[in-house]
């Protein structure tokens, strides 16, 4: 069974992001970048499937400029076998990404695709679902547990108010939630080995995918600062204030 994992290069979760002064986007110059944490969980899950003998090969793919090779190498260091970079400088929307990934799924004859449930920058939570639809795969989103048995993927999903267990017929698409696993650290020898693992580049043109944007970003703004709090002496004063504010 071949497993495909998609990873996205995003601003590291520990970095406080800053909106550019012209409100055109987030300033990412010389900011620490990482694999999107949910994608890292996806890599870990795929590598565990390989280690347990369920998967034969783990292919990791990223769509982006050459800088995303850094994240592909990290995924290779974590245990993926080979990498594909779909090379583009454009800032793509989820539909374009899903279409590109769909072509990769076709080319590579993928039985299981594992994606993060969302990226921590765009927060779209769309790519996985779109890919499943395009590729005609069954889908198990927000997975907190995954088992492969008799040609089925048994997925525990984190849903409102509890957990839902579903059985999917392969080929399937899984999106990862936080509790699925805790990714390992890459070891030094594996980081060195990762530099020699195969990484191929293809372009959206080669995959014959139209990646033109459907949306226009008008403006990006920092959330409004929280107003300063106020201390009240008594409960009745609090109630009075809440009434004035129209809360009660």
């Amino acid at each position: 069974m071949k497993v495909l994992v998609a990873v996205k290069r995003v601003v590291d979760a520990n970095v406080q992001i800053r909106v550019k002064s012209d409100n055109s986007g987030v300033d990412v110059s010389n900011v620490k970048m990482s694999i999107n944490p949910f994608c890292e969980i996806a890599v870990e899950e795929a590598v565990r499937l390989k280690e347990s003998g369920v998967a034969e090969e783990v292919i990791v793919v990223s769509v982006g400029a050459d800088a995303c090779q850094e994240q592909l190498r990290t995924a290779l260091a974590l245990g993926a076998d080979r990498a594909i970079q779909v090379q583009t400088e454009a800032d793509l929307e989820p539909l374009a990404i899903a279409k590109l990934l769909n072509k990769v799924v076709e080319r590579e004859d993928i039985s299981l695709a594992i994606l993060g449930k969302q990226s921590i920058d765009g927060d779209n939570n769309q790519t996985g679902q779109m890919l499943a639809a395009l590729a005609g795969m069954s889908q198990g989103t927000f997975a907190s547990n995954l088992e492969i048995e008799n040609g089925e993927a048994i997925v525990t999903r984190e849903i409102d108010g509890g957990l839902q267990k579903v059985a999917l017929k392969l080929p399937s698409l899984i999106t990862t939630d936080l509790r699925l696993n805790e990714p390992r650290f890459a070891s030094l020898p594996n980081i060195m080995k990762a530099k020699r693992k195969p990484l191929v580049q293809i372009t959206p043109e080669e995959l014959a995918v139209d990646i033109s944007p459907r949306l226009t970003t008008l403006e990006i703004n920092t959330p409004a600062a929280r107003a300063v709090g106020e201390r009240v002496a008594t409960v009745s004063e609090l109630v009075e204030k809440l009434k004035v504010e129209g809360v009660l």
């Binding site: 110059s29 010389n30 030094l188």
Partner: protein, 550 residues
């Protein structure tokens, strides 16, 4: 638990200017000679540049030698210094502009660049990797490995990952690795925790003055376009540190993209334990000279780092069997220029020039490369450090004003044959709090000045929460039983990240708390604790600040 090991020709600890220059120069020589070398650089920051904090006005002399075509290669030195201004701040409102002719020559910056040394290191790491160096960010060198028989330095061990606060292995546990090398190069920056151990073990500082330090606190601001003058460089001294008879100096540099960096270096030989370098810096920004640029502007980043500024008098022996100690880890900063980048780089390049022929002998390595000293003495680096040798000690001895005048005389007019020394370590300079006046710092206004926690927030500092505390107290009772009654526990104030707090226990007695997750790795606690009771150790690799553009 058994640890795996890997062997290299050279292992370099710290991806700063010194370490990366050593790596690049080594590979340049190897590639030119058609030889293979295994060189690796380990870096505790999550990425190269994450822990680098510097002014900075960079003198390109060493870079010109290392990569003569650095401009074509896209090195991030793009803002030449166009104007130098030097001030003496006489009070919270007043300042005197010092005519350039009266400023010590090394303070002139024609030909230099306003730059982010973090970005310079990011670029140097790219060059190093292209030359064939293995760069490993996120891996902290936790301890030195000594050869059991000869006692020589044989490499370093990286720290274990995935260990909880009590020292137990978590699910993600990964044992550290032993990186063994013919030669290990220590370039951890000022007060490296391994460098400190090596200086002691091999008595490298024998016959030298103690190292002297400053604490640099820096912020990056985005200012109004109409006030921005790329290449304008301000330096000065005086207020607010002069109020407590302390010394230090401020800087404010205009770089590109409407950004300015502003900072204050507080000399760590200050005597009043009530002094807070952080609050001195915050109130300094209210001085009209500084506020004219920052009013209505936006603060983007914050950070702090100690600097080693003892110069030649304090420079230890830089070699020992199997290892070299370079850059700020040794103390090659030229304090008369307030610049350490070009000197750190040069110290690394010189080391590479000594190391390469040695490695070509293809023996087991591990020798004490004493020829480094001679090589150093014949270089411009030594020349610079010799000329500036009295700069810091004259300031310590005579104060900013007379010491400053001395420096103008010595640097501009005639080189004096005598030597001014300062044999008192910084940590012994504190007077008991009872002998010192309290210092009332104004409340931060949230526009120009800020509290510590909102500042640390901007340094993007993060440490894995569940891990052993990396700030080690030899004697846990010292802060409350000794430091508190005598010095009002100065760690609460000299730490620029709010790591140390004295809180009240339930029974009303004082309790010392260490918030290690806040640590920005500046090393001030290791330097200034009057009891020398705090030892800074490396936390889990990848922890610490994530400075962009600092």
């Amino acid at each position: 638990m058994t640890r795996e090991s890997m062997e290299f020709d050279v292992v370099i600890v710290g991806a700063g200017p010194a370490g990366l220059s050593t790596a690049c120069r080594l590979m340049q020589q190897a590639n030119a000679a058609g030889e293979e070398l295994m060189v690796c650089v380990v870096e505790k920051g999550a990425e190269v540049g994450a822990h680098i904090l510097s002014g900075a006005v960079v003198e390109p002399r060493a870079l010109n030698e290392l990569f003569p075509d650095w401009q074509a290669l896209g090195a991030p030195l793009t803002v030449p210094v166009l104007e130098d201004q030097i001030y003496y701040l006489n009070s919270a409102k007043k300042s005197i502009k010092i005519p350039n002719a009266l400023a010590p020559k090394p303070m002139h910056n024609q030909g230099n660049y306003v730059a982010s040394v973090g970005n310079l290191c990011r670029w140097l790491a790219e060059q190093a990797e292209q030359l064939g160096v293995e760069v490993f960010p996120g891996f902290a060198a936790a301890h030195v490995i000594y050869d059991e028989q000869s006692g020589r330095v044989a490499g370093i061990g990286t720290g274990d990952m995935g260990v909880d606060a009590d020292g137990n292995a978590k699910d993600t546990y990964m044992a550290g690795m032993d990186l063994l090398a013919k030669y290990t190069v220590f370039t951890e920056g000022c007060r490296g925790h391994l460098g400190k151990e090596l200086i002691k073990k091999f008595a490298l500082d024998e016959g030298k003055d103690p190292q002297h330090y400053g604490l640099g606190i820096k912020e990056l601001w985005e200012i109004d376009e109409s006030l921005h003058q790329p290449g304008l460089v301000l330096h000065g001294t005086g207020w607010p540190l002069s109020e407590s008879s302390s010394t230090g100096g401020f800087f404010l540099y205009h770089s590109d993209n409407n950004q300015v960096v502003v900072g204050l270096i507080t000399d760590l030989n200050y005597s009043n334990p009530n002094l807070s370098p952080y609050d001195e810096f915050q109130r300094m920004k209210h001085h009209p000279l500084i506020a004219q640029y920052l009013s209505g502007a936006k603060r983007l980043s914050y950070g702090a780092r100690a600097i080693a500024k003892g110069g030649l008098h304090s420079l230890p022996k830089m070699t020992m069997p199997g290892a070299l100690l370079l850059g700020c880890d040794a103390g090659t900063l030229n304090f008369s220029k307030i610049k350490g980048t070009h000197t750190a780089m040069k110290s690394g390049m010189l080391a590479a020039e000594v190391l390469f022929p040695e490695l070509m002998k293809k023996d087991q390595g591990g020798h004490d490369l004493v020829q480094y000293d001679e090589h150093l003495k014949q270089s411009w680096l030594y020349d610079e450090l010799y000329k500036g040798r009295n700069f810091g000690s004259a300031m310590h001895k005579f104060g900013t004003f007379v010491g400053g005048m001395y420096n103008v005389f010595e640097q501009n007019i005639v080189s004096l044959p005598f030597t001014i020394r300062d044999p008192k370590p910084d940590y012994l300079c504190l007077k008991p709090a009872s002998e010192c006046s309290p210092i009332e710092y104004p409340k931060p206004d949230g526009r120009l000045s800020f509290d510590k926690s909102s500042s640390v927030f901007l340094s993007n500092t993060n440490h894995e929460e569940s891990q052993p505390c990396h700030l080690h107290l030899q004697d846990a009772s010292v802060p409350v039983l000794h430091n508190l009654p005598t010095f009002n526990e100065p760690a609460q104030r000299f730490c620029p990240a709010g790591v140390y707090e004295v809180l009240e226990s339930e029974d009303g007695s004082p309790r010392f708390q260490i918030n290690a997750q806040n640590c920005v790795h500046c090393k001030t606690c290791d330097i200034k604790d009057p009891a020398q009771n705090i030892t800074w150790r490396v936390p889990e690799g990848g922890g610490g600040p994530n400075y962009p553009n600092m």
